[in-house]
């Protein structure tokens, strides 16, 4: 290794290149001892990340990536040796080949099994997130591959919840929203090849950022109903081919509608409810999340429940009540409760659509029976089927 680093730092360009190839070849070894034998070379590999030819830089980047995958010792050494600032300057390379290499190297560090608390504060402290963001949102110029890898990098950073407030203050939310709108336009134009690869991490970043405890700064940037339309376009496009994306979309939809009446209102006035109801038979996570979004809407009050009722939410609920998934049925009961609470006539209609029979099958199911009984007693007594008493019941539940 001493000989090799000597050659690697030679002033003879050809020798230096050949030594880089040797190191690269060594980095392929599946023996961690080999990766660790290469430790003396890492400071030089990092030094060469800036200002060298594309091929040479590329070799150094992939060698570092391979070594980092293989050995925690290497990863631990790269941090003090200054890999973060080195990457930040390398990320400004105009060469796709170099950026692709970085798209390989960076996830190895961000995803490593050890405690993310060692690396993420350093990453967040650097210009890396902003460079990643730039590369993600310039996807079409640099090719999908680069954008996808850096979107995953951002996801690894965001889902570690180390300091998302900082990212939000840097404007990451509005950039991601604009990117999603662009991608929705691509869907409209039919250009969806490989789009799901990019969508998944972008949706995740946005959803997690919206869930931060201090979403005030997000709120301003997020009041854009076009985002809602985009989410539905994605679900429609990928429901058959990539169903996993639907739940990622519904997660975002939940985080949009949970606290923002504007999105609940838009969901109804844009007539997107039927599309949402069509997702209810999908089973599992999708059904549960779709019901949760409906609950978010219903929770906003009588005007919202009236719309839900007019758009035939009850027949769909009668179907989900027939499912065996206790979580799904439980969430259906929650939705019924909100509907009956805010809109007594919904209870009457539920009775007339044989709702009691649908509830009856869950009367003896421990996690559900209390709520079934409460619905029956509060809203579905034959005598209480008039709109009078439920209104009083609901009034009692509200703060005056």
């Amino acid at each position: 290794m001493r000989v090799l680093t000597g050659l690697f730092t030679s002033s003879l360009a050809d020798v230096r290149m050949e030594a880089a190839r040797c190191l690269h070849e060594l980095s392929h070894s599946n023996d961690p001892a080999v990766a660790e034998a290469c430790l003396p070379a890492t400071s030089y590999l990092l030094t060469y990340l800036s200002g060298h030819s594309v091929e040479f830089t590329e070799l150094c980047v992939y060698t570092l990536g391979n070594l980092a995958v293989e050995s925690e010792t290497v990863r631990k050494q790269l941090l003090p040796q200054g890999i973060i600032p080195a990457l930040a300057s390398c990320l400004q390379s105009p060469h796709v080949a170099v950026l692709e290499g970085l798209g390989y190297l960076l996830p190895q560090l961000l995803q490593a099994t050890e405690d993310p608390a060692t690396i993420l504060p350093l990453v967040l402290d650097s210009a890396l997130p902003l460079h990643m963001l730039r590369l993600v949102s310039s996807n079409l110029e640099l090719g999908m591959g680069v954008a996808v890898e850096f979107a995953w990098c951002l996801h690894y950073v965001v889902c570690s919840h180390v300091n998302n407030g900082l990212l939000i203050s840097q404007g990451i939310v509005s950039t991601l929203v604009l990117l999603l709108l662009d991608l929705a336009s691509a869907v409209v134009e039919g250009a969806t090849e490989g789009l799901e690869l990019l969508l998944c991490p972008v949706l995740r970043c946005l959803s997690n950022l919206l869930a931060e405890d201090e979403p005030e700064s997000c709120k301003v940037q997020m009041q854009d109903e076009r985002l809602l339309v985009a989410v539905f376009l994605f679900m429609q496009r990928f429901l058959q081919q990539h169903p996993f994306l639907v739940q990622e979309c519904l997660w975002l939809l939940n985080n949009l509608t949970a606290d923002e009446p504007i999105f609940c209102s838009a969901l109804l006035t844009l007539d997107l409810l039927p599309a949402l109801l069509q997702l209810l038979p999908c089973s599992g996570t999708v059904t549960l999340l779709a019901l949760t979004v409906l609950c978010n809407v219903a929770e906003k009050g009588p005007a919202y429940c009236r719309q839900l009722h007019q758009k035939a939410v009850l027949p769909s609920l009668l179907s989900t009540l027939a499912l065996s998934d206790a979580q799904v049925v439980g969430q259906s009961l929650e939705l019924l409760h909100l509907l009956f609470l805010h809109l007594p006539e919904a209870a009457a209609d539920f009775l007339s659509q044989a709702g009691l029979q649908a509830l009856a099958q869950h009367r003896d199911n421990p996690p559900l029976q209390e709520r079934v009984r409460a619905l029956e007693e509060r809203y579905l007594q034959p005598a209480a089927a008039t709109p009078v008493s439920p209104i009083r019941a609901s009034a009692a539940a509200l703060p005056s």
């Binding site: 002033s11 070894s29 390989y104």
Partner: protein
């Protein structure tokens, strides 16, 4: 899934907000309360999407070998005065230029591997105020980009590099200053002399200095990653097989390898 017709037209129109009822706490036994969800990186919600990504990466890695054709051009020589190297590919020239000329000190014609090291060199070797300043305050800045530390002497800096940045103790780009005269008295530079401090000079890496970098016996890594070495790149006249990433990879949690695009030069 059917969306309402003309939905995309409604992208611009303003819509009135339906009146909102102030939120009330759920009344037992009901418990629903709208809340934003956040998922941590290990959350099972991510499973389906992560699997899809792993399949994508695996697919790419099976196609990792690429062929790059280097188009030859008629021979040309380096345009830097005093350098007479000849090339027949643009890539060869690019690499030569970046190695020898890109970060070259215009005073003493030595080359440096990065702009940061060149700046440091110029400050320390050719700035007439440097020595005077260095007697009063710490002037030797750390060689690691992004580290703001400064030191009284290059010896202190070296100790810092080794201790804090885990640099090899014989870091070759931080050779101590030679005789003072060498500043003023740079020889007419033949190609050989261009970058003295980075000559291939294996025997200067003394045994003792390398000790601190010696490797402990391998600790077993936790990654369930299995690798097989990729095809050996053979440099041929016209083709260069490059395989950046070992070709067979098993994915386990936290051990997925990145991608390699399948670019091909026409």
């Amino acid at each position: 899934m059917l969306l309402p017709p003309g939905l995309s037209l409604s992208l611009q129109a303003e819509r009135p907000l339906l009146p909102v009822r102030p939120r009330s706490p759920p009344r037992a036994p009901f418990c629903f309360s709208a809340r934003r969800l956040r998922f941590h990186r290990q959350h099972e919600f991510f499973e389906d999407g992560d699997i899809h990504r792993h399949l994508y990466l695996q697919d790419i890695l099976t196609n990792v070998t690429e062929v790059t054709e280097r188009s030859k051009v008629s021979e040309f020589s380096c345009h830097i005065v005093g350098c007479c190297q000849v090339f027949d590919t643009l890539e060869g020239y690019e690499h030569h230029y970046n190695t020898l000329h890109r970060n070259m000190c215009s005073f003493c014609k030595r080359s440096f591997p990065s702009g940061h090291l060149l700046d440091t060199h110029i400050l320390e070797w050719h700035d007439s105020l440097f020595q005077i300043m260095a007697e009063k305050q710490n002037m030797y800045q750390c060689l690691v980009e992004g580290c703001a530390e400064k030191f009284k002497s290059s010896k202190d800096r070296k100790d810092h590099l080794v201790k804090v940045h885990l640099y090899p103790s014989d870091f070759r780009f931080d050779r101590p200053k030679k005789a003072k005269s060498s500043i003023k008295h740079s020889k007419p530079h033949s190609k050989r002399d261009v970058s003295m401090p980075m000559d291939v000079n294996v025997e200067t890496c003394e045994q003792s200095q390398a000790d601190s970098m010696e490797i402990c016996p391998s600790e077993s890594t936790e990654n369930p990653t299995q690798l097989a070495s990729g095809p050996i790149p053979s440099v041929q006249e016209k083709q260069l097989y490059k395989s950046r990433i070992p070709s067979t990879v098993c994915f386990g949690q936290g051990a997925s390898r990145g991608f390699k695009s399948l670019k091909k030069k026409a």
